[in-house]
Symmetry: C2
């Protein structure tokens, strides 16, 4: 079997101008970044016909075995092209920093990848650098405001806006500064997060246009004043400059799949403290350009799909027409209690036992009005009996479960899935979010925990409750909630695989992302600045004699 | 008079593909970044004919009146094109962060500007972001090495490698971290500099190719071990990844002047703790493509031109064929003691008095074997009598002093200068650096201070002397010295204008840039992380209804 990088290197990329032309993007709307990447100027696009159908790709809870959600998104998109459907793929763009910790993620795998892998994983079109700059400009302006007299009376102990770098750097998590005396400012505790955790990343991905972007940036709460009222980004007059810094980053990035089909890679917010989906602008631009848009959400369906629908779709006025739920035999076996080293052995019972995870996700997605299609992302060791277990279970819900071989065969391996999903999308769905805007914040949290996670109880301290109450009084009560919990389990215990019951969900902390437009409810350890491992992959990355990057993948 | 920004907005830019084609850059060597910026892949350029002539533009000591060094570089380049000379302009690229403090610099002014001004001043082609990433990756790998056991036995108190951001943020100058206990690491004092002060910026600008870049990155001293021996970047195995991060940044950026002539903007190291010139790669690529290459050095000739010749030319094996020394009547009047508010009054005596500054620079440049041409950058209030004083003084040295009106008239206003300078460059010069490689480091410092600044004495503490001795023993004795002092005076007192004498130069501190390849001698207050002013220009920057940036210039 060739590796992902070997397959990638054998690929023949088309100039991005050709990919764009084939997608109906006129020259004047194309802003090239090198030969194989471009940004799309929406204002220069031809008027849209009827908007396309939106297809969400989500998955069972992730396991170390891998479920292949991005791979399936790519394969499905390529397959839709093969069956003659005008399709656009919308994915998140990866973060640079973590590539130097563990090996770079690329986008997709096998014969279902997005190209050019190395550029996508490195600086790409500079979007994340622009977000880093905009974020840290605001940070500098806050400390500068305090330095020059602090007219806003910002409480030094209550500055909530930190700084960011697109780097795994645990040493910056918690710092004290500025030190060095009068000329540097007033010392306080602060720290750095990784750029994808910046509220600006979430804002960029939820904004409808530049004007909305600037409004949301202005709405960011940077901290609290001595009288405990919030201080906003617009109070330090940073929103205009930040918008200027983000004016190119807001434009979707066009790249191509191995089969030379178009893909937007745009935005990449954290899927725990943020909503984990590509930008609204990319999705809407794609819907205006294509008949079918394939997009994905972070983590499993309990976190990613729920946020896709309750946060992204709600805020952007979008609705999914079909959902693909990705599962693998191997991942279900792990959910059924098999250790990773034993996955090569056929084990029908373990698949049956683990299928409860898939089952619960199917039930959950039906609560949003959409019966998903299960994509069984095929691995060569899967047996017919194991697959039959999944199909049998799915049939109880009237759900198709289709074997997909796009990893090995590219789009040709996902044609059956494409036909079924296109038909379902054409038929449409009766989408509804899980809870109404008007529901009190605490009830929204409880609704997600009980309906989606199946918690028996939800615990919120008086402090958390009164904080939520206060935000409701401040006018934020109509915000959706963004749950931050482990992605490995329906519960808050990452080791409780399958379909755990009888557990409590404790909300340790709540945070307000006033600019992005959601309330974050934290039910677990959330790391917003990763560290590097003992032997970072960076140690083995280099340019070879031919200028080819080694060690990144 | 229209403002710079008004002139810029009326300009008709050509697609960068056309600018490239007119300069002989084949399509396969052009990597577009949007419609008006591109990177040049040197490996895809046609073989060079005889290398072009190198023309350095430098200036008298800067004053608040402005001397117009970059403007003159642009005007001269456009004028050379007008008189039929195949010319390429090489400038530094500006830093993003400071644009939010005081208004953005653009490149040039009046009818002699480089375009597109806003993109050049914002993210441009991402070079500085790449340098920021590479720098901070090394920082993260150092703290990570310490965290995981510190096999190199790096002394926590002697880590010299800091972090960088392309931002004016005084609050980051001095910090303590990581705090927060075992999971974050070992607390120590550290801080951030602005990206242009990174040694990586200097390295990128001095490297001859990717291989040399990686070697120089590996040579960086990150700090000292418990036994006081140095620890290098390559000891933490960061050099390969850093090179990968910089693989695009090392390629020169092509833009155009208002007259649609080509310009490379590439690299922008500090002109105090570093050498203040655009990249060697851009200069050499330009020399291979054009018959005349116009480039500039930072600050006045005492700092900028000296470093251009003793650092950049020495390390890169370059030699200037002609030098243009820019002066203005107004700046000479200020050197002659006139206050800024009184500059509108004609004052022949003050010009005569201030011309001693110009005179000393002419003498100094002759020490490198090159008699410069003085460009009198014309201002509409200059009188014939004032100009005559300058020309008379210059004639004592056999030096032409040419009135240039490129600010008002573009290239047409600098044709006389172009003719004289082209003729001089054709004739060539007998360039020699100020001191030989073999001279001891302390003597090199003393030579620059006495020969160029005209110091009466040079003071170095025993600690400084023994440090220099130690570096000589470590094998760094052949490095050139990079002087860091005020740009406003020949002396270390920024208020001592004209041609001060009888002063002492005290070397407060020396630093080793082992990767860049020079020893920094600090004779004054050197700020490597600027702060924002009380009312940062960022407060007034915004995108107007037409998507045009307001307030940046």
């Amino acid at each position: 079997m060739p590796t992902d990088i070997e397959i990638a290197r054998q690929a023949t990329l088309k100039p991005i101008t050709e990919v764009a032309a084939a997608s109906g993007v006129p020259d004047e709307a194309l802003i090239p970044y090198g030969k194989y990447k471009a940004k799309i100027d929406r204002d220069a696009l031809p008027p849209a016909a009827a908007p396309g159908k939106l297809i969400l790709v989500t998955a069972i809870n992730p396991t170390p075995a891998g479920e292949g959600k991005t791979t399936t998104s790519v394969g499905l998109s390529d397959a839709l092209h093969r069956i003659g459907k005008k399709t656009l793929l919308c994915l998140r763009e990866p973060s640079l920093g973590p590539c130097f910790g563990v090996k770079g993620g690329g986008a997709g795998g096998g014969k279902s990848q997005v190209m050019p892998m190395d550029e996508i994983n490195l600086h790409f079109t500079g979007d994340f650098h622009a977000i880093t700059s905009a974020h840290n400009l605001l940070s500098a302006m806050i400390d500068n405001h305090i330095y020059w007299g602090n007219a806003l009376e910002i409480d030094l102990r209550r500055v909530t806006w930190r700084r960011v770098l697109d780097m795994n750097d645990r040493a910056l998590r918690q710092i004290v500064g500025p030190l060095g005396g009068v000329s540097n400012g007033f010392p306080r505790e602060t720290g750095f997060d990784i750029t994808v955790a910046s509220e600006i990343m979430a804002i960029l991905c939820l904004a409808s246009d530049l004007k909305d972007l600037q409004k949301r940036l202005g709405d960011i709460i940077i901290g609290y004043r001595r009288d405990k009222t919030p201080a906003f980004c617009r109070d330090v007059k940073a929103d205009g400059s930040m918008t200027v810094l983000l004016k190119d980053a807001i434009m979707p990035n066009l790249v191509q799949t191995l089969e030379n089909n178009p893909a937007f890679l745009h935005g990449g917010p954290f899927a725990n403290i943020a909503h984990g989906c590509n930008s609204v602008i990319a999705t809407k631009t794609a819907l205006a350009m294509a008949d079918y848009v394939v997009t994905e959400a972070g983590f499993g369906a309990d976190l990613g799909a729920e946020k896709f629908m309750d946060v992204k779709c709600r805020i952007a006025g979008l609705k999914p027409d079909a959902i693909v739920l990705v599962a693998t035999v191997r991942a279900l076996k792990m959910n059924g209690g098999v250790a990773k080293k034993d996955l090569t052995e056929p084990n029908v019972d373990a698949v049956r036992k683990g299928a409860v995870n898939l089952e619960r996700h199917i039930e959950n997605l039906n609560k949003f009005g959409i019966n998903p299609t299960v994509a069984i992302n095929h691995f060569y060791l899967d047996t017919d009996e194991e697959i039959a277990v999944i199909q049998e279970m799915a049939s109880k819900f009237g759900t198709d479960a289709v074997i997909c071989k796009h990893w090995a065969d590219g789009g040709a391996g996902a044609e059956e899935l494409a036909k079924i999903v296109a038909a379902k999308a054409d038929k449409g769905a009766d989408f509804k979010p899980l809870y109404p805007d008007e529901m009190p914040l605490a009830d929204k949290i409880e609704t997600v925990a009980r309906e989606i996670y199946r918690a028996e109880s939800v615990t919120m301290s008086p402090a958390v409750k009164s904080q939520l109450k206060q935000w409701e009084e401040m006018g934020y009560g109509n915000f959706p909630v963004c749950m931050a919990k482990t992605q490995y389990s329906f519960s808050t215990d990452p080791t409780a695989l399958g379909a755990p019951t009888g557990f409590d969900v404790t909300i340790r902390e709540v945070r307000l992302s006033a600019g992005a437009g959601f309330v974050v409810a934290i039910a677990g350890d959330i790391m917003t600045m990763p560290g590097l491992p003992k032997v970072p992959s960076a140690e083995a990355i280099y340019l070879d004699e031919n200028g080819q990057i080694e060690g990144l993948f």
